[in-house]
C-alpha cells in the first residue's frame, strides 16, 4: 500500500509547529473577534427588547430561525461583501454568537425575581440603576452560561472558515484532506481545535464561579 500515514505523529508536530501555532493564533483571533462583535451587538438589542417587552418573544423565535442557517451558507453569503478575508468568517460567527447571547441575556433577565425589582424601584432606583445594580448582576449566571456556550460553539464554527481560507485549524484540516489525506495533519489540527474549545470552556466556567459568589452559598 502507500507509505506510512499515521494519525498520530510527533514528528509532524515538531516539523510543523510554526504552522500549528500560526493556525492557532488565527483560530483564537477569529474566535475572540467574533465574540467581541457578538457582544457589542447583543447589548443594545437586549436593552431594546427589554424596553419593548411585547417584542421579546417575537425576537426570540425570529432569532431561533436565523440560528438554523447552515454555517456554510452564511459564510458564503457574506463572501461577496467581505471577500476572502477573515472578516467574512468573523461577521458570520458574530451573528451566530449574537443569537445565543441574546437568548441567554433575555432569559436571564426574565428570571430576576419580580419582588427584588419592585423593592429596588420602591427604594428610589432609576431604571438604569436597576438594570446595572440589580437585574444585570442577577441575570449574570445565565448570561455567562450563554457566553460559554457561544464561545465553544464559535471555536467549532471557525473551522468552516476554511472555505474562504481563514479557518484557523480548519484550514489545516482541509489542507490535510487535499494533501493526499495527510492523517497526522488532520488529526493534530483536530485535537488542537478541541483542546482550544475545552480550555476556553474551562476558563469561562471558572469565570462564572468567580463572578457569582452568592450563587454557591444557599442555605
Amino acid at each position: 500500500m502507500e507509505s506510512a500515514n499515521p494519525w498520530l505523529s510527533w514528528s509532524y508536530v515538531q516539523d510543523n509547529s510554526a504552522a500549528l501555532v500560526s493556525a492557532g493564533i488565527e483560530h483564537l483571533w477569529i474566535t475572540v473577534a467574533s465574540m467581541a462583535l457578538g457582544i457589542v451587538m447583543a447589548v443594545p438589542l437586549t436593552l431594546l427588547a427589554r424596553r419593548h417587552a411585547p417584542w421579546a418573544p417575537s425576537l426570540l423565535s425570529g432569532s431561533g430561525i436565523l440560528y438554523t442557517i447552515p454555517s456554510l451558507a452564511l459564510i458564503s453569503a457574506l463572501w461577496p461583501l467581505f471577500g476572502l478575508t477573515n472578516l467574512t468568517v468573523i461577521v458570520a460567527l458574530a451573528l451566530y454568537a449574537l443569537l445565543i447571547l441574546l437568548r441567554g441575556a433575555l432569559l436571564g433577565l426574565d428570571e430576576v425575581p419580580a419582588d427584588v425589582v419592585d423593592a429596588a424601584r420602591g427604594m428610589g432606583m432609576s431604571d438604569r440603576e436597576i438594570m446595572v445594580s440589580v437585574e444585570f448582576p442577577l441575570a449574570l449566571p445565565t448570561i455567562l452560561s450563554g457566553l460559554r456556550v457561544a464561545t465553544v460553539s464559535t471555536v467549532g464554527l471557525v473551522t468552516v472558515g476554511a472555505l474562504v481560507g481563514h479557518g484557523g485549524f480548519g484550514t489545516l484540516i482541509l489542507g490535510g484532506l487535499n494533501e493526499n489525506f495527510y492523517h497526522a495533519k488532520i488529526f493534530t489540527a483536530t485535537i488542537a481545535c478541541v483542546a482550544l474549545a475545552l480550555i476556553l470552556d474551562f476558563a469561562l466556567r471558572a469565570l462564572e464561579r468567580g463572578l457569582t459568589p452568592w450563587a454557591k452559598v444557599a442555605v
Binding site: 418573544p57 430561525i65 456554510l72 458564503s76 453569503a77 461583501l81 489525506f181 488532520i186 483536530t190 470552556d201
Partner: protein, 535 residues
C-alpha cells in the same frame, strides 16, 4: 444579483439532471435521514436505559459539552480520510450521525428522568405494575422530551449536511462548494439560499410536529410566534442575498496592497505549491520579498493578477492560453493553443500583454491534463489510449470524475465528448487531479478521472494514464505569468533560470516528495534550488 438569482432559479436546466435541484435535494434529505436513523437507533435506547437505571448522570451531563467542543467539520474530514470510509456521502452520514447522538441521548435520558419519582412512587403504591408505569407515565413524558431533542438534532443535521460537499459528497452544499471553485457568485448564493431554506423549513415543519407530540399539559402557547417566524424568514432571505447585492452595487473591492511583498499565487495541489515555492525562494534569495498565497482556481487568480493583487502565478501554458482566449475573444473563439510550445507561447503573450500580464519563458517540464483509469481496468480491456476507452464507453457509459469546473473546460468533459465521442453516464465533481479524484478512481466510485501527467502518486494508487492520441490536451508546460508592473529584467532572469532547470521527470520526483512522502513543499523546493545551484 437578485435578477441573476431569479434567472438561475427559473432556468429549467437547474431543475433536471444529476446536478439539478431535485436531485441534490433528494441526496441531502437521504443523507440527513440515514444519519438521523443511525443516531436514533443508537442514542434513544441507550439514553432511556441510562435514564431508567439512573447511572452515570455525570457522563450524560458532560456528553453535551464534549459534543459541542468537537467540530463536525473535523470529524467529517477524518472519516473521509480514513480508508474504510473514504470520500463521499458515507463519510458525511457517519459524521452527522456521530454529531447527532449526544443531543438525542441527553433528551432520551432527561425524558425518562423527568417522570417525577414521587409520581412513580405513588403509582407503584396504588398498584401499578412496572410496565404500566412505563407505559402510562414514563413513556408519554419521554416522548415529549424526545420530540424536542430529535427536532433540534434533525435541524442541525440538515443544516450541517451542507458540509458533505467539501469532502466530495452530494447534497445542496454542492452548489456552494462548486460555486466557490469557479468563483460563480450566483451559484454560491443560490446554494446558500437553498441550504438555509431547507434548514428553516425543516425547523418549522418539525416544530409543528413537536407541538403535536408534546403532552398538551406541557405545551407552551406562544401566540406571537407567527410574527417572529415571519420576521425570521424575511431576515434569512435578506441575510443570504443582501451582502452580494450590496457588493455588486459597490463594485469590486481589492484588498491587496500595491507595494510590499510580491504575492505568488498557488493552487491547492502539491505541484503548484512546490512551483510557487521554487519561484518564491529563488526571488527571496536575491533580496526580493515574496509571499505565497493559496487560491482556489484560475477564475480567482487571473483577475487578481490583472488587478495587481497577485504578482506571479506558475501556470500551465496551453490551459491558460485558452482561458485568456475565451475571456478576451468570447467563449466560442477558435482555439489558439496547440502542442507547439513556441507558437502557443506567442499567442499567450499577445493575449496577456494588453491585460497587464507578462509571460516568461516556458519550462521544458510539462504537466498535461490526462485521463486515468485503474491499472486493473486498463489491463482487463487492454486500454492504452483514450480512444480505446471511448470505444468501450459506447456500450458502457462511464462515470467521469474531475474538478468541479470540468464540465465547462474544453480540455475536460466537453472535449472528451466532442473530440473522442466518449459516452459519459454522469460527472462527479471532485478535485483537480487531487486526492479525491484519485481515491474515487481507486475505489471504483468513478470509471475515468482527470489527473495530471506529472502526478507522483499515480503508480502507488494503482492508476494509469491513457495516451492522449487525439491530442485533446495542448502543451501544458510550466510557465510563470507575472504582473507587468513587476516584470523587471532581474526578476525575468531569476525566474527563467528556475524554469529552465526543470524537466518533466524532475517535476514528477518533486511531486512524489510532496504528495507521497509528505514533505513540506518549501523544504522540497529549497533542496532542489540548492542542488541545482540556483540559490
Amino acid at each position: 444579483m437578485i435578477g441573476q438569482l431569479f434567472a438561475w432559479f427559473t432556468d429549467p436546466a437547474n431543475w433536471t439532471g444529476p446536478n439539478g435541484i431535485p436531485t441534490r435535494l433528494a441526496q441531502h434529505l437521504v443523507m440527513s435521514g440515514l444519519a438521523m436513523v443511525i443516531a436514533i437507533v443508537i442514542a434513544v435506547p441507550l439514553g432511556m436505559w441510562l435514564g431508567h437505571s439512573g447511572r452515570k448522570p455525570g457522563l450524560v451531563l458532560n456528553l453535551g459539552s464534549i459534543g459541542r467542543a468537537v467540530p463536525t467539520f473535523a470529524v467529517l474530514v477524518i472519516l473521509a480520510s480514513w480508508d474504510p470510509v473514504g470520500v463521499g456521502d458515507l463519510a458525511a452520514i457517519l459524521a452527522l450521525a456521530l454529531f447527532a447522538i449526544p443531543p438525542i441521548l441527553v433528551s432520551a435520558y432527561d425524558g425518562i428522568r423527568a417522570a417525577d419519582p414521587d409520581v412513580v412512587d405513588a403509582a407503584r403504591g396504588m398498584g401499578f405494575t412496572g410496565r404500566q408505569i412505563l407505559r402510562q407515565v414514563e413513556v408519554p413524558l419521554s416522548v415529549t422530551y424526545l420530540a424536542s431533542g430529535i427536532r433540534t438534532s434533525t435541524v442541525q443535521v440538515v443544516a450541517t449536511a451542507s458540509l458533505a460537499a467539501l469532502v466530495g459528497g452530494g447534497g445542496l452544499g454542492r452548489y456552494v462548494v462548486d460555486g466557490f471553485a469557479t468563483q460563480d457568485a450566483v451559484l454560491v448564493i443560490a446554494g446558500a439560499l437553498l441550504t438555509a431554506g431547507l434548514a428553516v423549513v425543516t425547523d418549522l415543519v418539525l416544530g409543528r410536529a413537536q407541538v403535536l407530540a408534546t403532552l398538551p399539559a406541557l405545551r407552551v402557547r406562544k401566540s406571537s410566534q407567527a410574527l417572529g417566524i415571519g420576521f425570521g424568514l424575511v431576515a434569512v432571505f435578506a441575510l443570504m442575498v443582501a451582502p452580494s447585492a450590496l457588493a455588486s452595487m459597490r463594485g469590486s473591492s481589492s484588498g491587496a496592497s500595491v507595494d510590499g511583498p510580491i504575492v505568488i499565487a498557488a493552487y491547492s495541489f502539491g505541484e503548484s505549491k512546490v512551483m510557487a515555492q521554487l519561484y518564491a525562494q529563488a526571488l527571496q534569495a536575491q533580496g526580493i520579498d515574496t509571499q505565497v498565497r493559496e487560491l482556489s482556481s484560475r477564475e480567482v487568480v487571473e483577475p487578481a493578477l490583472e488587478a495587481g493583487d497577485v504578482g506571479l502565478v506558475p501556470e500551465y501554458l496551453g490551459t491558460v492560453t485558452e482561458f485568456l482566449n475565451k475571456k478576451v475573444n468570447g467563449t466560442s473563439a477558435a482555439a489558439v493553443a496547440s502542442g507547439d510550445v513556441e507558437a502557443t507561447s506567442q499567442e499567450l503573450s499577445k493575449l496577456a500583454g494588453p491585460l497587464g500580464i507578462t509571460v516568461f519563458t516556458p519550462s521544458p517540464a510539462a504537466d498535461q491534463n490526462a485521463f486515468a483509469v485503474t491499472l486493473a481496468f486498463a489491463k482487463e480491456h487492454g486500454f492504452k489510449t483514450v480512444s480505446d476507452l471511448s470505444v468501450y464507453s459506447h456500450q458502457n457509459p462511464l462515470l467521469l470524475g474531475g474538478p468541479p469546473e470540468c464540465p465547462t473546460r474544453p480540455f475536460c468533459q466537453p472535449g472528451l465528448v466532442s473530440v473522442y465521442g466518449m459516452k459519459l453516464s454522469s460527472f462527479v465533481p471532485l478535485d483537480a487531479g487531487g486526492p479525491l479524484t484519485k481515491q474515487s478512481l481507486a475505489q471504483g466510485k468513478t470509471d475515468v478521472g482527470l489527473v495530471f501527467s506529472s502526478d507522483g502518486g499515480l503508480g502507488v494508487q494503482g492508476l494509469v494514464v491513457l495516451d492522449d492520441d487525439k491530442h485533446l490536451q495542448t502543451a501544458d508546460n510550466l510557465v510563470p505569468l507575472i504582473s507587468s508592473s513587476i516584470a523587471t529584467p532581474q526578476v525575468r532572469k531569476i525566474l527563467n533560470a528556475v524554469s529552465a532547470a526543470l524537466t518533466t521527470d524532475l517535476l514528477v520526483s518533486l511531486n512524489k516528495q510532496v504528495d507521497i512522502d509528505r514533505k513540506d513543499p518549501a523544504v522540497v523546493a529549497r533542496a532542489f534550488l540548492v542542488a541545482h545551484g540556483l540559490i
